[in-house]
């Protein structure tokens, strides 16, 4: 399987290196507590990943690809791994010719991957109730308030089967359910584990996750998504943009939950000029303030779904799924 990715990703003279990896895990948990809880649950996750490095004289670029989720071998067998490798190679070759991004505030369209990272970093983390309780969230005291545009609805849902952040029962033994963090722009729910739920006098909502049996459960995200909107295609989102950026794929991000500032980086991007994609760009980074950017979301395609699997670090590392539709932000700081 890995050779399939590697061979298709290497099929060009400018590709100098490809690396591929596979991981799968079977998670079996048994939880016994002094309250009489005695629960046992098991599930699996699988992941393949590849990285293509291409070079043209002194210009060197790399493109990373991932595929996986909750499930076993059947998940990977359902993926056209040759196509996955080829797509990564084509993207790397495109990056070789890409220009550096302009900087400044401008309209931004984010693909599904980047939309997912944005909503994970900018909104998901500040919604974690342990940070809210610690006074380290820009969303403290904002439950019930309008914090985003009307079209923004966000869920964190560990019950999405196949999502890399799926789990059937949380690590305190609480049944999982979908959490609707924002409904039509209104902040409606925080992510809680039992301790924070007790702090706020509410029921826990299954947000407790531990990296493994050696770590204590923290409030964590699972599969976090913006729900779809009313636009059919990316062309619909681009048509009235004179000058902006279309950014794709994620190289990760970070958030200062207290200040509500965030930064995330795209794998590749294009300039949008007069409603059309023009110049390919590389090493694009987007930053902003959560409460400003959520208000600036002014277009979403209909087809929300999870994007590539990811990992989230918060002292402990856990697998997560992020995604959404293609998203348009009227103004974001790009660099």
């Amino acid at each position: 399987m890995l050779k399939n990715i590697a061979d298709s990703a290497s099929d060009h003279e400018k590709v100098v290196s490809t690396t591929c990896g596979w991981s799968d895990e079977h998670i079996h948990t048994e939880l016994l507590t002094s309250e009489g809880m005695d629960r046992v649950w098991s599930f699996q996750r699988s992941l393949v990943r590849g990285m293509v490095t291409a070079r043209d004289d002194n210009e060197v670029v790399s493109y990373r690809t991932r595929y996986g989720g909750e499930g076993g071998l059947e998940l990977i067998e359902a993926c056209d791994l040759g196509q996955l490798g080829n797509d990564a190679m084509v993207a790397a070759l495109r990056l070789l010719k890409a220009k550096r991004a302009p900087s400044g505030k401008m309209p931004l369209i984010a693909d599904r991957d980047l939309t997912g990272v944005y909503i994970h970093e900018a909104l998901g983390h500040p919604c974690e109730a342990d940070l809210v309780a610690a006074g380290d969230s820009c969303l403290d005291g904002k439950l019930g308030q309008k914090i985003g545009s009307d079209i923004v609805t966000v869920v964190d849902d560990p019950t999405i089967r196949g999502g890399y952040g799926a789990y059937p029962i949380d690590d305190e033994g609480v049944n999982t359910r979908a959490k609707r963090l924002i409904t039509n722009g209104v902040l409606t729910e925080y992510l809680n584990h039992r301790e924070t739920a007790a702090h706020f006098g509410i029921e826990p909502n299954g947000g407790a996750r531990a990296q493994d049996g050696l770590h204590h459960p923290l409030v964590r995200m699972s599969n976090t998504m913006i729900m779809g909107g009313n636009h059919d295609t990316i062309d619909d989102l681009m048509e009235d943009i004179d000058y902006g950026i279309y950014a794709c794929g994620s190289r990760g991000g970070q958030v200062d939950t207290g200040k509500g500032s965030f930064q995330f980086a795209a794998q590749e991007a294009w300039l949008i000029e007069n409603g059309e994609l023009t110049t390919p760009l590389k090493d694009v980074s987007v930053s902003g303030l959560t409460l400003e950017i959520l208000q600036n979301v002014n277009g979403l395609t209909r087809d929300a779904k999870l994007a590539a699997p990811g990992f989230c670090g918060k002292g402990q590392t856990v697998p997560v799924g992020d995604g959404g539709p293609i998203m348009r932000i009227s103004e974001a700081l790009v660099g």
């Binding site: 302009p102 090493d283 930053s287 660099g335």
Partner: protein, 412 residues
């Protein structure tokens, strides 16, 4: 914190796994063992919120047969038969790396300051006292300041490596860390700064990072507006601001296999000027008290102090035994050998090439911070960056943000 017999126990366990390897006729094998214990306290919202402690450890076994290697790990020596068989079966289906042999026992240099016995005696109550002192200190430095996150912790690790090539080494390392996120939230304005300290030696009760954190939360209040358009200007990055970017981009660029595979932005520049001619980059594996230093690397090869860039010229690269053999076997490089740069994340994974304690220094000597500010005339001081991990280690490009930043005007 660490049982008195921890080292003896893991050496005995590693040797017994080695005997199983021998009994199965494996020509070359290597067993590593780690056992660590520690305790820590978390601080949230100005309060101590969680005390935790515990231990972790196990064994990793690497077997090598005709250049084919297999790796398996285990927690208890009772599972050694199965783990060794697993490593053998993995080796059988792994591609052979011609010329790959495990390293022989070599003379090494002792590295001082890796273990502080005082840390072994630190109790959870001692940590509570330290955390209380830190909270009090922050309040005394600025009554508005609150430690919104962070904590203190100590740990000790017993480690050992035993190989078929005559390497037998063991020892204890200790560490003590403290970190605080200090916030000042007043008049609808929130400023904050994260600072941390870590050492193999016992930290003082109030580490310097505490005052620094309060300072940056104070001095970034009342921010001015700046133009969001790009501008070229001098930037003074403090060590805390520079290090995260440096550690993402530079160690990867001087890994031997990255250079050989042309994956490094410095590939093809061996022997060429890659930095300003007063700058020298050293990977010091023998630094007294260095967090990454030790007498032997993760494969049992003696660590060294190695110049990677000397007066601006790329003169070296970091190698592990396997990577050097593989790159030579693949014909990507004529000759390479281990530089004692094999690292191990834990017993659960085979060694990989990595830096120990990497330092950038200038032959011009050190300027004081005030001198540097005066020389820059107009520009910015950046003390931390957000998104350092999103820097591109392949190209070396980065685009990050910061909120601990000061503007310099006319050298002030």
């Amino acid at each position: 914190m660490l049982p008195d017999d921890a080292v003896a126990r893991i050496v005995e366990g590693a040797q017994s796994i080695g005997k199983i390897c021998q009994s199965k006729g494996i020509g070359e094998w290597e067993v590593v063992a780690f056992q660590s214990y520690g305790h820590e306290l978390d601080i949230e919202a100005g309060k101590i919120t969680l005390a935790a402690g515990g231990g972790d450890g196990g064994y990793g076994v690497r077997v090598l047969d005709g250049g084919r290697f297999g790796y398996a790990h285990l927690v208890d020596v009772s599972g050694a038969e199965h783990a060794v068989s697993q490593a053998i079966s993995i080796a059988k289906v792994s591609p052979a790396v011609e010329g790959f042999c495990l390293p022989q026992n070599q003379k090494s240099t002792d590295v001082l300051g890796r273990c502080d016995n005082r840390i072994l005696d630190v109790s959870p109550e001692d940590l509570l006292e330290q955390a209380d002192s830190i909270l009090s200190e922050v309040a005394s430095l600025d009554s508005r300041a609150v430690v919104t996150g962070g904590g203190v912790g100590v740990s000790a690790t017993a480690g050992a490596i035993v190989t078929s090539q005559g390497i037998l080494s063991s020892g204890i390392t200790t560490s003590h860390g403290a970190g605080v996120q200090v916030s000042i939230d007043e008049n609808d304005e929130l400023t904050s700064a994260w600072e941390s300290s870590s050492s193999r030696k016992l930290l003082k009760s109030i580490p310097d990072c505490i005052e620094t954190s309060v300072h940056w939360a104070q001095c970034t209040r009342g921010p001015i507006e700046v133009d969001s358009q790009a501008v070229d200007c001098p930037v003074l990055m403090t060590s805390e601001g520079f290090s995260p970017l440096f550690s993402v981009c530079i160690p990867a660029a001087v890994r031997g296999e990255k250079l050989a595979r042309k994956e490094s932005f410095w590939s093809g520049n061996e022997g060429q000027m890659v930095l300003a001619n007063d700058l020298t980059l050293i990977d010091d594996g023998l630094m007294e008290g260095g967090m990454g230093s030790s007498s032997l690397d993760g494969e049992g090869v003696p660590r060294q102090t190695q110049a990677l860039v000397e007066n601006g010229r790329l003169v070296g690269s970091m190698w592990s035994t396997r990577d050097s053999a593989q790159m030579v076997a693949e014909g990507r490089i004529e000759h390479a050998q281990s530089t004692g740069s094999a690292s191990r994340g834990s017993h659960q994974s085979p060694p990989y090439t990595g830096c120990s304690d990497m330092i950038l220094k200038s032959s011009k000597g050190g300027n004081s911070r005030d001198d540097l500010i005066s020389l820059m005339d107009n520009g910015y001081i950046v003390h931390s960056v957000m998104g350092a991990h999103t820097a591109n280690p392949t190209s070396g490009d980065f685009s990050v943000t910061t909120s601990t930043i000061l503007k310099v005007v006319d050298g002030h």
